[in-house]
């Protein structure tokens, strides 16, 4: 029996899909069977980020409607065979989702995978509620800015009231990823410190991901940034997936700008 993790954010554009793709791949590299599911019905893009655009035959809606079985719809990743992908429908909209069908699908995936990662749509409408309803845990992605944090706070509130686990009297585990941190801006006070964010949201910190220009290009090419060993964001995702798989990985403080020796020396004389 695997664990179902919903990746949520509230606000759009903070890096949910990128995080989902990287976390999925990172888990697969840790020799765990993992499936990533795009729950953003009507606006699918996880397929592109994973570089599996051309392989989508059946989608999640067709599986739920019984037009295809789950084995037909699952796409195996080219990079790592532990990673599977279930695409969202691009033609339907999220009103087609039904609780009972989502529950059945999630239960089925849980049977055959160690990790089931659900990429939630932005916002807090029905699509979002269906994504979190049967999740055992949630990863909340925020950017260090006030609007993202308020939206995440709202999303957590809904998670805490609508999740099936909470209704059964249990707790949904909640983990925070702070994405797109710029050390210089944190140091100069233009960007929120992670301590302040943690105080507002009051959930466990899973990891901090620095801003990295390589992420956009990686998404465009369909090669998640975790594959790039030199990328700082890729390394951050590697640490995060290590933690998810039960390794003890120290929290790296990426909020202190890591200046090279030359810059440090010139800094002295400035």
């Amino acid at each position: 029996m695997g664990i179902v993790i919903a990746v949520i954010s509230g606000k759009g554009g903070v890096g949910k899909t990128t995080a989902t793709a990287n976390i999925g791949l990172g888990i697969a590299f840790n020799d765990k069977k993992c499936v990533v599911v795009d729950f953003d019905i009507g606006q699918r893009n996880l397929d592109m980020v994973l570089g599996l655009e051309n392989r989508v035959v059946y989608d999640i809606v067709q599986v739920m409607e019984g037009e295809a079985n789950i084995k037909q719809a699952l796409i195996k990743s080219k990079v790592n065979e532990n990673l599977h992908f279930l695409a969202a429908s691009q033609t339907k909209d999220k009103s087609v989702l039904e609780s009972s069908k989502v529950e059945k699908l999630v239960a089925e995936l849980k049977e055959s995978f160690d990790f089931v990662i659900l990429d939630a749509p932005a916002g807090i409408e029905s699509g979002y509620e269906h994504t979190i309803e049967f999740a055992d845990a949630a990863i909340i992605i925020v950017n260090p800015e006030v609007s993202s944090i308020r939206d995440a706070d709202r999303a957590i509130g809904i998670l805490d009231s609508k999740s099936a686990k909470v209704k059964a009297g249990e707790d949904v585990a909640k983990y925070l990823i702070i994405n797109r941190i710029v050390a210089d801006m944190v140091e100069s006070g233009e960007m929120l410190k992670s301590d302040d964010i943690l105080e507002i949201l009051n959930i466990k910190l899973l990891g901090k991901v620095p801003e990295d220009k390589g992420v956009i290009d990686a998404s465009n090419q369909g090669k998640p940034v975790i594959l790039d060993k030199k990328s700082i964001a890729g390394q951050a995702y590697k640490r995060i997936t290590g933690r998810l798989c039960g390794e003890k990985v120290d929290m790296k403080d990426i909020e202190i700008s890591d200046k090279g020796l030359f810059k440090k020396l010139t800094g002295i004389f400035r």
Binding site: D151, R154, I200, N202
Partner: protein, 210 residues
Amino acid sequence: MKSKQYSVKVYETTITNEVAFMEFFDNNYTLFKDHLIVISGNLSSTIKVYLENKKLSYLHDVSLPKGRTRKALEKELQAEQTERAVLAQISQNEINRLSSQLENNLTVLDEMIRSGREVDIKGDLLLLNRVNSGATIKTTGNLIITKVVEGAIRCAGHFMMLTASPKANIVFHGVEVDNSLLEDRLNRVELKNNEIIITPVLKKEINWAL
């Protein structure tokens, strides 16, 4: 360094009449010969010579550490006690005044009020957690919040006590409270004679955690 400590008896005086002074010392020489004589005010050469002849040790115009007499100490102690009693009485009066304004149905909550939540309370509310940006708290009675408020507050009680961030939106009896007046510490906001009065409760931020 080698040092010793002595206790010395000191006779301090101001000379007004030199003849009388010398007479006094002649008469009481046995009594004062081991004292340290401290002369404040004028010291003429006649007196200097006189003291040296008598082999008396003396100092001129020095400030000595002043010992306090028992009476002075008692007086000080009493003043302190009175002050303490007055302060206790003031705070007791304040507590009595505020508790007379409390309503009987008090709700106690210890949960984070996250964005999008609206807590609507009939009566008084004691909230032991944060109010995040985008959340709303409404009470018909008094309100005490022990952690930072970043959201909206609508209170219609006699008083409220809270620490508000500049982001908070606070309406007390239908009047928007100016945030710049709610410094970054616990404040008491109350309605007195149709006026909203804001008083910082303590200078420092209180740590409510046990």
